[in-house]
């Protein structure tokens, strides 16, 4: 899903490692069918996965999906730049 978004030049879901490890592209699937590859348990618990909370980079849509973006990039402390 995330790769598709990037290839279309679209934005909306934050793009991180693209490998299921960093958790930045966390989304909630509100409606639709999909499958998922392995995702870091540091970011997606078993309960979350069961409730449709997934990482977009590991998600393959199998229908049109409605999603809600949950992930956000935490910036390193750079206080002079804030």
């Amino acid at each position: 899903m995330l790769k598709g978004m990037e290839q279309l030049g679209r934005k909306g879901i934050p793009v991180g490692c693209r490998g299921g490890g960093c958790g930045i592209c966390k989304i909630e699937i509100v409606r639709g069918d999909y499958s998922c590859q392995r995702m870091s348990r540091a970011h997606i618990s078993v309960e979350e996965e069961a409730q449709g909370v997934v990482l977009a980079c590991r998600t393959r849509p199998q229908s049109d999906l409605d999603v809600r973006v949950l992930g956000k990039i935490q910036r390193a402390v750079m206080r002079a730049l804030d």
């Binding site: 793009v15 960093c22 540091a42």
Partner: protein, 308 residues
């Protein structure tokens, strides 16, 4: 100063979500050489110009990140001296028996104030670099992918930057080479145990300890560009580059392994001697310090990490 204490980064143990995918990445794309698999299923690899048995250990786990980074010290006497000094500093020490990692001697594990696990060891079996020690060839044949020369350093994020800098400089004898400062507040600290631009680097960030990247050295800018070609040819997730860092002057490219751990390959960074002054970047020039050409901070580069 001759190198008498900590010699160099010895290895990093990384957690990966899928071992086979990770081995393909590190062996076939980065160009490390697989040297061993242990009874726990961990895979050991080394860069071609390293002499010891391994410098990267891949462990399959349900989350990505760094288990620990280990440094080789001169000898066992040095190891026990550091153990005593680390205890005195207030670190909790754990002794890891020889052979817990195959081909590696006893390790002294401690948590740095930023929360990262580091280890020291004195002995690792010799594997060789594929080149004779008599009338040596300049490089071995049959290398793959980016042909990484050595595991060079890790950059990590943590809250108690001051504590970790104090530990590495005052207890382990590292030298501060470069830093980013905001007035009195140090935001980034690059440190070496040798004469390199960095053997380990820390960036101040609130929250849990994180891995920013594990880095591998290449020889030339041409090699860095070629790494970029391989990243596209093999559909590896690119992060940034090829470009130049202000900090360390390194020519660099960043990408992610299939589990999301960030890797760097780079060449031609700066060097220091014990009398080289510390280089300081001011916080208003952080963009230039990190990416010398664009001078822009990139949210993904700054904000995306895996665990430690």
């Amino acid at each position: 100063m001759a190198m008498t204490g900590v010699l160099r980064p010895g290895h990093v143990q990384l957690r990966v979500l899928d071992l086979d995918e990770a081995v393909t990445h590190y062996r076939d794309y980065l160009g490390l050489i697989e040297t061993h698999r242990d009874s726990q299923g961990r895979v050991y690899l080394k860069a071609w110009d390293e002499q010891d048995w391994f410098s990267v250990v891949l462990r399959e786990a349900d989350e990505a990140g760094m288990d620990h980074m280990a440094f080789k010290v001169l000898d066992e006497e040095t190891l026990w001296r550091f153990q005593a000094d680390l205890k005195k500093f207030g670190c909790q020490i754990e002794r890891i028996a020889a052979g817990e990692l195959d081909h590696c001697g006893e390790r002294v594990r401690f948590a740095a104030p930023t929360g990262h696990l580091f280890e020291l060891y004195a002995n690792k079996d010799h594997y060789g670099n594929g080149i004779s020690t008599t009338n040596p060839a300049p490089w071995p044949e049959g290398l793959k992918g980016m042909q990484a020369v050595r595991f060079d350093h890790c950059l990590v994020y943590g809250e108690d930057l001051d504590g970790s800098v104090k530990l590495f400089t005052e207890v382990l004898g590292f030298q501060l080479t470069e830093q980013i400062v905001d007035g009195d507040l140090q935001l980034a600290a690059f440190m070496t145990c040798s004469t390199k631009a960095h053997d380990v680097a820390f960036i101040r960030q609130e929250g849990k300890a994180k891995l920013h990247h594990a880095s591998f050295m290449l020889k030339t800018w041409e090699n860095v560009l070629r790494a970029g070609d391989i990243i596209s040819m093999k559909d590896i997730a690119l992060d940034m580059g090829p470009t130049r860092h202000g900090l360390t002057r390194g020519q660099t490219i960043y990408f992610f392994d299939p589990s999301g751990n960030r890797n760097e390959v780079f060449c031609e960074d700066s060097y220091v001697y014990p009398d080289t002054p510390v280089l300081t970047w001011t916080a208003d020039r952080t963009g230039q310090a990190i990416f010398y050409h664009s001078r822009e901070l990139n949210d993904r580069f700054m904000g995306v990490t895996t665990g430690a």
